[in-house]
Homo-oligomer: 600 residues x 2
């Protein structure tokens, strides 16, 4: 069977690293236990193997088509939405009140990881529906909830996030889609939305857009944006679905992520597109951010899921492909060895593993914060919320940027075969490439981290993070074999303090433009430290296990963890120093560079 | 008109940096002059614009097909081969004796750059033919030369390099295709070759394979490999072309580089495939290396050509796409600004420009060494030969690895649009990805650099390189504005000395496996220094020009050069230090990591 994830690693993270079962001591999660978590994960894997992985290649090769104004998708989509609905996978994270299982985010994260690793495009349909339905339950009226949520959680209706417009992508505050008030409880919507994932398709009965628009006369900018439910088909007085005047103008032909359509939609061409306000007027952007923050974590998760699938493909190939001999061995008559025996190939595999397992660990850490935020109160709740806020841009951007490098390295492990469609790795590179772009580009994440999260509440979140890392270092220092790593991380934290100090001074002296000019570098610098912290956390669990009794097989697993941690510290954390050098350099060339200097 | 290269930059490199016209003082190149060089470059650009760029997208969308045993390629290929033949482009670098123009490698390099930037797949057909014909003229008998070379230079017959076999890719010494001697002046060939670029197609009359095979009974390994001409159709006694028992088994469906077929060929299924020995028996690998070294430079050139096309696409897009406002500007009612005004976008553009122009400069430097090697004698000739040998793996690997990152960054500049087929950048990423694989993967280049080139003749080449850099530093120190860069480069050279010293000690103490285990990191470390050197050379020419009289437009160009140099030193050379840290780390984890630690 093709391996795209390591179940052993998932168990390691859930049980040994994050001890997710501790969540079941809280009332909200008290009906769960560890056995149930295991069952959920097993079922997710079965579904992925049965339903999703088998159509990975086909959904890529036969992408959606726009035929007579409707988008036709692969037949598997209908089946997937149905099974995800009936199996409760779309609803699993919802409260019982809304028909869900109250599954912790952490376990829900694991299932999302498995689905995305098996077939990212296929997984996007139910995941988007979950996100859209959550938004309605959080901010929508009882009427909206009753009309839309059950059908969505059932997989009968698709949910979307309809934000982007042709002239408003990264600059969301510039959207111009307009909502005209009527006296009938709905608004009339006019405008164009673009790049809407699953924005139209024939795998479901209806499409429910969670759409940002500006109520006529609302203030300019972010303060005048509201959130609406705008269905493709609305329910008429007789309970029938009738068209709601949304036209699918076109779909994009994309590099990857080809199994799901990205549609351009035009609303109100016949002045008959109706939308219903969700939450408060002019608060749409802040409402949407609930979905967007979860979506950002999901993007990071999907990136490392795709990188995971590519890594296991490369691991399998390198263990079986024979090429070359040990360097010191000159005799050409002896057999060639599996390429996994070459140090450079091991380096490439360790790189991939360090990215995949380091990123996944961070994302499950974020999920744990989300779970703890949900079930705790007061200062504790605030703490987890702040940590989650702080780490969200890292959890989004690091896996998506390094996921590109990781899948690219998987191709390199295959040599020429990796460049061919006969092996899946070229598709993984194409698929993963979207993630550094959608749900806020890496540049946007960087501005969010340095411009907002690092400074919010006078740096409270940043200080809380320092405490978390210090605790990990403290624990590690007491475990034989980890001193080097604890010390390296402590040094990196000192460097972080210096860098942020330097940047805050620059902010004061030179202003915000200079302060944020290398935000993307800061994001990478910070991410390398964050992922090292996650590796040290994993190293602690692994060393502890190695000191206990364990089988040969288990020993190999934990040794692999320790080597991968070692790899990350020596090859990847070491690069943080170079970024720090640049970040503390007073030359502001990217600010001073003039656009005309690019001309010739 | 779509811009894919900067002619201004080519003029800068040829005239101001490398002063290519000095070559015309040597007898071999004496019939040329600078005006003729200009004309050749102009004509190349016209051809690229007229013939190649217009089919860039189409050749990608309609890749070759194998129909009834023959490969059908886009109709443009026939036209291109014809015009390249008739226009003398395939032959331009050949000596007059063989029907060429004796064009310097440097100018030939510029034309190859232009062609590859306009449409890499299309350019591969004539370039491969040039390389194969060169090999015949260098080592083939007069008879072989007369039979094959004129038709190849005319564009009527395609040339190929037929090296790779299913079980012998990176490990070339393991090829098993066999040549059975006959008493009729030819050998009978039996075997399978794979990934043969332009290995079969209907755009020409005939395909001429320069093929490695083992003469029956030859020693195992590299010492038993010979070089043959093996045509698809051979000339019978009546001068007619008859089939030579080569079957096209399949063609690969590839991620990119889709305009040219990569074929799997089977020779001698009917025991009637004839091959003719080129050069000496069992010297095939060393003969082939002449072609391979040139091919490696060409791969580097093509990588930076594709990155150039992607960069100019991104530059154009960012200058026109409006999104966001200056960070300090809070008023949402003012117009959005072109994204090129954002510091992070300028950083991404500077990164691309620094890679494209830095790599191109290095490659033209290598071409100049090749030219000087050709026209000088004795110690001077040896010096240029050694420098060329040393820098070839850098000129191949750096542009191909950083070309991936550069085109990837071009996509990022486009945001979501970059992920769509409506813009060319996604194709550029797919096209450029092959270059880190073919003609020797990056890992192979790294072993070549550290395992062979750095140590050959007791490090003579490495020391010659140090002298070259010292000279540049010396010159730079006398020019105002360059002191910082000269000093940084001098410091990096000291670091290089430390790193190589450390590695040589490790070689002695721990053996070759440890010595070469991080060869790929060494290659990157060395490359960052080499490219900084090329940027300093460009900085010298630019500062000199800025001190003279120049128009506003010219000033912008030179200022852009200086800013890009500054970018490379501060953002990219700074990363060499982190690589040095790892290279001088005594932990040998990639050697010690066991393959079973990857299992779970």
């Amino acid at each position: 069977m093709t391996k795209f994830i390591s179940k052993r690693n998932l168990q390691f993270l859930i049980k040994e690293v994050f001890q997710t079962k501790t969540l079941t001591t809280y009332d909200y999660y008290s009906e769960h236990n560890e056995k149930m978590f295991d069952m959920v994960i097993d079922e997710a894997q079965k579904l992925a193997v049965k339903l999703m992985y088998p159509v990975l290649d086909e959904m890529d090769k036969k992408p959606p088509e726009l035929v007579n104004g409707e988008v036709r998708v692969h037949a598997a989509v209908k089946k997937i939405m149905k099974e995800f609905g009936q199996g409760g996978w779309i609803a699993s994270g919802f409260s019982k009140v809304h028909g869900g299982d109250q599954l912790p985010f952490t376990i829900k994260g694991v299932t999302s990881f498995i689905f995305a690793a098996s077939n990212y495009s296929a997984s996007a349909y139910p995941e988007l529906t979950t996100g859209a339905a959550e938004l309605i339950t959080s901010f929508g009226s009882q009427d909206l909830i009753e009309t839309y949520v059950p059908k969505m959680l059932d997989g009968k209706w698709q949910g979307t996030m309809a934000l982007t417009e042709p002239a408003a992508g990264s600059s969301l505050s510039d959207i111009i889609t307009t909502a005209f008030p009527t006296d009938k409880g709905y608004f009339k919507i006019k405008g164009v939305k673009t790049f809407i994932s699953a924005g139209d398709h024939d795998g479901v009965e209806n499409i429910i857009h969670l759409m940002l628009a500006r109520i006529e006369g609302a203030p300019a900018g972010a303060k005048g944006i509201s959130l609406f439910v705008v269905p493709k088909k609305r329910v008429d007085n007789n309970g029938h679905l009738v068209p709601n005047d949304i036209t699918t103008v076109s779909i994009y032909h994309k590099l990857g992520y080809r199994g799901a359509p990205a549609a351009e939609l035009s609303m109100g061409e016949k002045d008959d597109c109706r939308g219903w306000l969700v939450g408060q007027e002019n608060k749409g952007l802040s409402h949407m951010f609930q979905m967007m923050n979860a979506a950002r974590i999901l993007v990071g998760l999907a990136s490392c899921a795709i990188a995971s699938a590519a890594y296991y493909a490369a691991l399998d190939y390198t263990a079986n492909r024979r090429q070359g001999r040990p360097i010191a061995q000159k005799d050409p008559s002896i057999d060639q060895i599996p390429i996994i025996e070459h140090a450079d190939v091991k380096r490439m595999l360790l790189f991939q593993r360090s990215i995949v397992e380091g990123s996944l660990s961070l994302i499950l850490q974020c999920c744990m914060y989300a779970d703890l935020m949900k079930v705790t109160e007061g200062e504790e709740k605030e703490k987890y919320g702040l940590l989650l806020d702080l780490l969200t841009p890292v959890a989004k951007a690091f896996p998506s940027e390094f996921g590109i490098l990781s899948t690219n390295t998987a191709i390199q492990c295959f040599g020429g075969y990796g460049y061919c469609e006969d092996f899946p790795v070229e598709q993984y590179l194409r698929d993963v490439r979207i993630h550094a772009i959608h749900e806020g580009t890496t540049g946007i994440q960087a501005m969010d981290l340095l411009g907002r999260k690092m400074v919010m509440q006078n740096g409270k979140a940043a200080f809380l993070f320092v405490d978390e890392v210090k605790q990990t270092i403290h624990t590690a220092l007491e475990i034989p074999g980890l001193e080097f790593f604890a010390t390296q991380l402590a040094n990196a934290m000192k460097e972080l303090e210096k860098v942020t100090g330097f940047l805050f001074t620059a902010f004061g002296e030179k202003g915000v433009d200079v302060y944020l000019s290398d935000a993307t570098l800061f994001l990478e610098f910070y991410s390398r430290i964050v992922i090292s912290w996650q590796w040290l956390i994993q190293g602690i669990a692994s060393q502890k296990a190695l000191f206990g009794k364990c089988s040969k097989k288990e020993k190999n697993f934990y040794q692999g963890k320790v080597f991968t941690m070692n790899y990350f510290f020596r090859y990847e954390l070491s690069k943080a120093a170079a970024l720090a050098t640049r970040l503390m350099d007073k030359d502001n060339l990217t600010v001073e560079m003039k656009s005309e200097y690019f001309k010739d």
